[in-house]
């Protein structure tokens, strides 16, 4: 059972309220596909992923990035119950998408970096700690139904 301090709750809610899900989602997925190119294995039908410029301009990447952020939004709105909230998504990622759970960490590192750039100085060490704790819980919940 995850225990959230008041600061952590407020911080997570505050961060996500400031994010443009389309811009941040697209930028995060693009960065992940560029920095960790092996993650492209899951996006064979996304068309042109040949170089950084192509990835950054790819509309399917942008759209999927948005989908991911909306998925995270569900965790933000159910912080006391992320495990149950994500049970179906976990099964989906394991049984249908066959995503190696290590990739969740890679994507969350990219999200941290994109959010840091957006929030600038406001992304203090304490804020980063809360954000990474939230992402760690999400990653754990997503990996839960794998067997």
């Amino acid at each position: 059972m995850v225990v959230w301090t008041d600061f952590e709750r407020a911080t997570i809610t505050d961060i996500f309220s400031k994010l443009d899900y389309e811009a941040v989602g697209g930028a995060t997925l693009a960065r992940c596909l560029i920095v960790y190119p092996w993650t492209q294995r899951y996006f064979g039908n996304f068309g042109n992923l040949y170089n950084a410029a192509a990835i950054s301009g790819n509309p399917m990447v942008a759209k999927h990035g948005t989908t991911i952020l909306h998925g995270l939004d569900r965790a933000v709105k159910n912080m006391d119950n992320i495990k149950a909230t994500y049970a179906e998504l976990s099964v989906l990622h394991s049984e249908k998408l066959h995503v190696d759970p290590d990739n969740f960490k890679l994507l969350s590192d990219c999200l941290t970096i994109v959010v840091a750039a957006q929030l600038g100085k406001d992304f203090t060490g304490e804020v980063q700690a809360a954000f990474q704790k939230f992402l760690a819980v999400v990653v754990s919940a997503l990996g839960r139904q794998y067997h």
Binding site: I34, A117, Q128, A129
Partner: protein, 144 residues
Amino acid sequence: MTCLSAKDKDTVKVFWAKVADKVEEVGSDALSRMLAVYPQTKTYFSHWKDLSPGSAPVNKHGKTVMLGVGQAVACIDDLNAGLLTLSELHAFTLRVDPANFKILSHCLLVVLSIKFPNDFTPEVHVSLDKFLAALSRALSEKYR
């Protein structure tokens, strides 16, 4: 041994030139973040009186670490040779678990993302990530 392409090396050198006059700020911020986000890293600094962000020991050590990274940039064509002394220091004296190099690298990337939002593009990010991984490997060379 390292898998840094010529393009990676150029990218790192050009970007690091921009960071060069902010080493203390960047280093202090990265170290402070590491101590806050990964509290287990504080175990290496039990001898410091003050572990808070912006404290004297954190500032001083952050700068030391960044100057080390700068040294690695200068010897990017042969990291093992260039970082030999530092590797021996980390292996025999400091005995820092190499898992922590990854942690500090991540914190450094976050700081660079904040301070250089326009320059820290995905292309720069991947070259720097590769460089820091190669640096960490070179630093672990003498461990066993």
